[in-house]
């Protein structure tokens, strides 16, 4: 198990904002719960400039890992991360 600062297990924080409702919802999961291809897909995008809006009322996802973040518009989410978002679909709060 990979540990973060202070010996605590590293967390992936995911935020979903936007959509017609405009609600900002969040969920955190242990980074160890990520599939390798999911972790790679997120890590490749950390620190990149946020993707610009692609259209009104689309969701915007923010992934935070290792103290860095990636902001990705809904229709720019790579296929590798779709299963992760499906797993999180009932965990937003």
């Amino acid at each position: 198990m990979k540990e973060g600062v202070g010996g605590e297990e590293e967390q992936l924080d995911v935020e979903r904002s936007g959509g017609f409702a405009g609600r900002t919802l969040r969920v955190s999961i242990p980074a160890s719960a990520l599939e390798p291809r999911e972790r790679t897909a997120i890590e490749q995008r950390l620190g990149r400039p946020p993707s610009p809006p692609t259209g009104p009322d689309r969701f915007v996802y923010r992934f935070r890992l290792h103290g860095r973040e990636a902001v990705v518009q809904e229709d720019m989410v790579p296929a590798e991360l779709q299963p992760l978002l499906d797993r999180l679909s009932h965990s937003w709060s």
Partner: protein
């Protein structure tokens, strides 16, 4: 100066200032981020729009003022590739309730734009109205993709669907009208204006359909689509922003303006401010909101009176000029619009266009 700083300082520094800085530091950081982003956003949005131009997908038969709707089934896919036809223009109702609701609401929205504003569809050239229902799985959203209106079924917990609320359909179609007119950048204040215009005309579509005056209307967006996990009556209230449901954080005035990088710079949060300005203007004018207040807002759109990166005060001044042009600089309508923007804190007395400018 800010632009130079932006090129060498990582955005994360500014993000940190936004979270922890003093109000002055946060404003400065937001300005800097906005300038830096705006250059990229103008390029990116123009590129995206060039790839998805508003165009007539199918030539609508019958000349001006004749609606043409086509409703498809997304088959629960989210790749926007589904093409199963559910109901075409003139077809009788089909067994799919969401398809019939979308068909009817698109017809009501088209009729509003034609009857009230003499606008022939999204592009004012008879563009066919395309809708897709059952987008994604338990998808808690509806959106305009540049060519079509997409509707999820909702998860059943947060939302129960999006086609049953006529103002939601009107909201999405109006995003197409905004794209075809002002082309407002979907970020920060211009994005909040984009959202507000959709709420304004979504509400007006409903009020016109129901024959409600400004005083009779609920001014709610998303009435009747909340699931059991959402405690409230709707998603947004133009009459009283921030009160539609438990957790609604829309401000009504500039004193509550939210600085955030979420939701493309808070486009659905800060839209409460111009939303409330419209409500105040419409109720002060009285009568049917679509007849005068709606026409003033629409005039700003069709004359392309503000640039794509318009801020609240730019749009507010444009509505004042439009009100004066339509009804006179000393009219009840012009005064109502000026008072509304003043009450929500967007325009101070010194920012009001000079009477001479209004009279021109």
């Amino acid at each position: 100066m800010h632009g130079c700083i932006c090129s060498i300082v990582p955005p994360s520094i500014f993000e940190r200032v936004l979270r922890t800085g003093t109000p002055e530091e946060r404003n400065s950081a937001m300005d800097t981020l906005s300038i830096d982003h705006s250059i990229r956003l103008v390029r990116a949005q123009n590129a995206a729009l060039a790839a998805q131009p508003v165009r007539r997908a199918v030539a609508a038969p019958g000349g001006r003022g004749v609606v043409h709707r086509t409703i498809y089934d997304a088959l629960h896919r989210n790749d926007q590739q589904a093409t199963r036809l559910l109901r075409d223009e003139g077809d009788p109702p089909c067994p799919d309730e969401a398809a019939n609701q979308a068909y009817d609401a698109l017809g009501d929205t088209y009729r509003f734009y034609w009857d009230v504003l003499t606008r022939d569809s999204i592009d004012d050239a008879g563009m066919s109205l395309l809708g897709e229902v059952h987008f994604g799985r338990s998808y808690d959203n509806a959106f305009w993709d540049g060519r079509r209106m997409m509707f999820g079924d909702g998860s059943g917990t947060m939302f129960t669907g999006f086609t049953s609320a006529i103002e939601v359909v009107g909201h999405e179609l109006t995003h197409g009208v905004t794209q075809a007119t002002l082309n407002l950048l979907y970020t920060g204040q211009s994005g909040a204006l984009n959202e507000s215009i959709s709420d304004v005309f979504g509400c007006l579509v409903k009020q016109y359909k129901l024959g409600q005056t400004a005083d009779q209307a609920t001014w709610l967006i998303g009435e009747g689509i909340l699931g059991p996990a959402m405690r409230g009556v709707a998603l947004r209230s133009m009459k009283a922003p921030g009160t539609a449901y438990e957790g609604d954080d829309q401000p009504a005035t500039m004193s509550g303006f939210v600085n955030t990088t979420s939701d493309n710079g808070g486009v659905h949060v800060n839209s409460g401010i111009p939303n409330h300005a419209f409500y105040l203007a419409a109720t002060a004018i009285g009568g049917n909101a679509w007849e005068r207040a709606g026409r003033i807002w629409y005039q700003v759109m069709t004359l392309r009176a503000v640039p794509p990166d318009a801020q609240f005060h730019t749009f507010a001044q444009a509505t004042l000029i439009a009100a004066a042009a339509l009804y006179g600089a000393s009219s009840v309508e012009a005064k109502a619009v000026a008072d509304a923007w003043g009450e929500v804190g967007v325009l101070t007395a010194t920012q009001m266009p000079a009477a001479a400018a209004l009279a021109r």
